[in-house]
């Protein structure tokens, strides 16, 4: 395995900029997810690492070696494609052996490595099947085994779970993570699913319109989003637009005042995660907003309450579904207070 350095990567297709000035250091054995809506440039960046897309500017270094001009077949990256991309005319073991043959691995060692790769993804019983005889999850396991059998320097996954159903998605995701950790694989995982990205990674990169929005550990990004895009893309957030009145109080455009520490003159928005809000009949905590219950949605583990505050401000509140919850008073039209701790307010001043 090796570390990967992306230095000022840029990709332009005709006039549209797919990736603008992307720099990142991926450490040896680290799993980094690229997250963003479709068309944000995450797949293009992955393909630049694999060598399928030539950067307009910038460099790709794998293990300290500049591979920007190296063709894909000499880069020794192991890629898993969104639609598996197994060779339909080869059996499972032939698929896995292909890369080893390309790397001129001697016959005896090849067979042993194919077997090891099959064992690794628990597909030994399927070695003589053709891809079309396998389910989606099994095909994806074979694709993973095929990519890893060549012992790549970097493991690349392009939305590998998007064609699997929800339950299987989680299962395969956990398998990928434990394999990655057991083998110490330097991994880049591209996804548009924020929960998937949060759950699997060491660090994540959030992209939007070709520009890196924020890089960091999942909890950093979730708790301290750098801007409104990150805050909104990674989970849900209530935004209160306004301006600071002094360095302790924030006044929203709708006329509500909040206590907020560390206010800066440029702060124009306070964001609060729905699960950091509580409801009560009397005002509680440092910040309370009077509101009217509009919609109550039962989500299972939590209850999502949509409220209307004065000034047509919509507030979303997630209540944990405990037996203590008073569903009786949660009726549409009920007048309640929405409360949150001042330290749970995220300040935006970009």
């Amino acid at each position: 395995m090796a570390n990967v350095s992306l230095i000022n990567l840029k990709k332009q297709f005709d006039k549209s900029v797919a990736v603008a000035d992307f720099s990142l250091e991926i450490e040896d054995g680290e799993l980094v997810t690229f997250l963003g809506p479709s068309g944000c440039g995450k797949t293009t960046t992955l393909r630049m690492i694999a060598g399928f897309v030539a950067p307009t500017q910038g460099k790709v270094l794998i293990g300290g070696e500049d591979v920007t001009q190296v063709p894909p077949y000499k880069r020794n990256t192991g890629m898993v494609f969104q639609r598996y991309a197994l060779f339909p005319h080869m059996t499972v073991s032939e698929n896995i052996a292909f890369g080893l043959e390309m790397h001129k691995v001697p016959r005896a060692e090849l067979e042993q490595r194919v077997k090891a790769a099959l064992d690794m993804v628990q597909m030994t019983g399927f070695k003589d099947r053709y891809p079309r005889q396998l389910s989606g999850g099994q095909q994806q396991r074979v694709a993973i085994a095929r990519a890893l059998a060549i012992q790549p320097k970097v493991f690349l996954l392009d939305e590998p779970l998007s064609n699997l159903d929800a339950k299987l998605r989680q299962e395969v995701r956990e398998e990928i993570r434990s394999l990655q950790q057991a083998l110490g694989l330097t991994t880049v995982f591209v996804t548009h699913d924020q929960e998937e990205a949060l759950a699997i990674c060491d660090r994540m990169v959030i992209m939007h319109e070709g520009i890196v929005q924020q890089v960091g550990k999942p909890n950093d990004l979730y708790e301290r989003p750098a801007n409104l895009f990150v805050a909104d893309f990674l989970g849900k957030m209530n935004f209160f637009k306004g301006r600071p009145r002094d360095h302790q109080t924030f006044m929203t455009d709708t006329g509500i005042t909040f206590v907020a520490p560390d206010l800066m003159p440029a702060t124009h928005c306070v964001g609060v995660r729905p699960e950091r809000m509580s409801l009560s009949i009397q005002p509680q905590l440092e910040n309370s907003i009077q509101a009217v219950v509009a919609v109550v949605a039962y989500l299972g583990p939590s209850i999502e309450v949509t409220l209307k505050a004065p000034g047509d401000q919509t507030i979303l509140c997630h209540l944990p579904n405990t037996s203590a919850i008073d569903t009786q008073s949660l009726q549409t039209g009920a007048k309640v207070f929405v409360n949150y701790l001042a330290r749970d307010g995220v300040l935006f001043s970009d």
């Binding site: 077949y73 494609f81 197994l86 005319h89």
Partner: protein, 293 residues
Amino acid sequence: MTSSFASHGSKKALGASLAFPASLIVFVIIVVPMFLVAKYSLNQFVPGQVMKAVFSLSNYVNFFTDPYYRKVFFSTLQVAAICTFLSLILGFPVAYFLAKTQASYKSLLIILLVFPLMVGNVVRAAGWMVVLGNAGAVNALLHWLGLIDQPLKLLYTPFAVVVGTTAVVLPYMILTLQSVLEGIDFSVEEAAQNLGANMFTTLRRVVFPLIAPGVAAGTMLVFILCMNAYATPVLLGGSGITMMAPSIYGQISRASNWPMGSAMAMILLMTSLLISLFANWLIHRRYQKTMVS
């Protein structure tokens, strides 16, 4: 349940009734004449009369024992094989490019490709005559460059027939190959490269096996078109080379030898059919694994 069965049945009946007019036309204008040709081919030629209805294989025996006819037969096979091979070699890169390109002018390129098909073979052959003739473009160019003193004989040679026929069948080959190539998921190529295969190995190990059945179909189509070519060999081959279709026309129209002409037509038909069936069987055996049902 009952209603679904009923609707299934009526759908079938509807399908059959829709297919009926076309089937009738095919039967009347193709199957019936073909039976007549088969029947005539067993008749005997009597000069002065059209033919005498007997049951004899003498026309077939004549065909394969007479060196002249054998030469016609084998040069037809040869020209068809060469043209098919050339169109495969020349057509593949074009088809590959067309299948892969995301360019906005892709449909324009395909229209350009189909364009020659809108011009009749005779007109196109006339074009080649202008190009290949003694005073034609090629000779004029070579003369101007000082490479030749006397014009090269290009027209009325097998070479001219090969060039002209290849030009006729090339669009068919490209369109067939392109549709086959469009059918494969290009990410398998990327997967192969990612696993260490260069461009050539990727084509050989991944792309070719996947497209082989389709390529075989395209090759067969083109081969049969070449075998049965008429206008191009007549106009560009002249007396320099005789192929089956012009020869059949000569038998029937000029020599008035309907039985021999019919026998030759049957031989041409059977040869095309046998070669296609054989190739099909071969491909199915070789690439059975590839066939994704």
